[in-house]
């Protein structure tokens, strides 16, 4: 599995802002890059996987941790 090449700290942001920031970040990446997103709004557990599905990006990691949620997204 590829490690993240870029990170996005979306902690403290409420949905849909973590998704918007993810989308804006990924637009600047190239195919194959992996973005790590860390967020605290529980809405991301649904929204980030859904956003990845509609745009065809691969969700490599979706993890609920003690204080936040972590995702790895491979740009496709």
């Amino acid at each position: 599995m590829n490690g993240p090449t870029t990170r996005l700290d979306a902690r403290g942001l409420l949905c849909p802002l973590p998704v918007i920031r993810t989308q804006d970040k990924i637009r600047k990446l190239k195919i194959g890059d992996v973005l790590e997103v860390v967020a605290t709004d529980p809405g991301v557990l649904h929204d980030i996987p859904a956003w990845c599905r509609v745009h065809g990006h691969r969700l490599l990691v979706s993890e609920q941790r003690a204080d936040d949620f972590r995702f790895h997204i491979e740009v496709s």
Partner: protein, 355 residues
């Protein structure tokens, strides 16, 4: 905007709110072989998302983003666009005025259609824009006389297609060019939702969002009352993102023009308000469990005592003889007050902002 070469597959941007009408409009055009991508604008006043995440009582509810869900059902891409800053001018200076509350619906629609035309979210350009508008559906923005205003002032002109009520309007460019078949569009009008529900059923859509109060806080009387109060108290019509977020949370109580209290109503709101502790004077009850209360404004020492009595009234010590309340200042200083909780009858109804 793309050129009109007949050999290039036609491409449309659909405004997707997450509700049924925009979903149906996009589906009707998608089924005609047009390449449709969705656009959803985040203004900061959207009902979805934030409040569900803040309030603990709402946390058991499904937390899906309905616009994303619609896009997934339709199999289209969705671009969610942050327009918080740009949207301020629409809220503060609506050329066409407000609806029943502080909802600038007509200017909002013009803004969004224009933004879908000009926003660089659709990398390959597009040929026309789709909305789920229905003539007569909304008293301010969706009327026969406002439809041409939106088309004209957005700059879309006849590249704006409303598939659900197209048969009540002159043919648009996509219809005249044969990019979409007008015979497969609809002539819905009025507030009756049955035609949309029947069309949804024909598409096999059974699980769709139908927000009773609409999708925008500006249409909400209580929210609009709090925003108007904010402007009046500050002596200017302006806001930032934190202002409009805080208006969604807690009880807003203004005992005097120069300060107001924002009192958390439950644990989720207290947690949210705690994120603002370093920017506001804030109160917490020490002797009894109670809310976190932010003070917005310039309270005097006497005001802080009154504020502490109000905070105590919403604590579990509301019937106690005295409640200890800590007053914290952004400087880091804090003071403990012993106060008698305010009786509900002493809490002036007019202090409750937004009713």
């Amino acid at each position: 905007m793309r050129n009109e070469s007949a050999n290039v597959p036609k491409r449309a941007a659909a405004l997707i709110s997450g509700g049924l009408d925009s979903m149906l409009a996009a589906k009707v055009v998608l089924d005609q072989g047009v390449d449709v991508e969705g656009v959803n604008f985040f203004t900061g006043f959207c009902v979805e998302g934030h409040t569900h995440a803040i309030r603990k009582k709402d946390r058991s509810r499904q937390k899906r983003n309905n616009a994303l869900w619609v896009a997934e059902q339709l199999g289209i891409k969705l671009h969610i666009v942050d327009v918080i800053d740009e949207y301020k001018d629409i809220v503060l200076n609506p050329k066409h005025g407000y609806g029943a509350n502080l909802n600038p619906c007509l200017d909002c629609k013009i803004f969004m259609v224009n933004k879908a035309l000009t926003e660089d979210v659709l990398d390959r350009g597009f040929d026309f824009v789709i909305t789920g508008e229905v003539i007569g559906q909304r008293p301010k923005s969706q009327r026969a006389d406002t439809m041409p205003v939106i088309a004209r002032e957005s700059g879309a002109d006849d590249r704006l297609l409303r598939p659900l009520c197209a048969l009540n309007l002159p043919p648009t460019l996509p219809e005249r060019k044969g990019w979409v078949d007008r015979d497969k569009l609809f002539g819905f009008h009025g507030r009756d939702r049955k035609p949309q529900m029947a069309l949804a059923e024909s598409f096999g859509f059974s699980d769709y969002a139908q927000p009773a109060g609409g999708c925008c806080f500006l249409t909400d009387e209580r929210y609009a009352g709090k925003l108007a109060d904010l402007w009046e108290a500050r002596g200017e019509r302006d806001y930032d993102f934190d202002d409009i977020m805080l208006l969604k949370v807690g009880r807003h109580i203004r005992p005097a023009p120069h300060y107001k209290l924002i009192v958390g109503r439950e644990e989720g709101e207290n947690n949210f308000l705690s994120g603002y502790r370093r920017r506001f004077v804030h109160l917490d009850t020490v002797s009894h469990a109670g809310p976190l209360t932010l003070i917005d404004g310039e309270p005097t020492d006497a005001d802080l005592v009154l504020a502490a009595r109000i905070a105590a009234r919403y604590s579990q010590g509301r019937t106690a003889a005295a409640v200890s309340v800590n007053v914290h200042h952004p400087s880091g200083d804090s003071t403990e007050l012993q106060v008698e909780p305010m009786l509900p009858t002493d809490l002036e109804p007019a202090w409750h902002i937004g009713g």
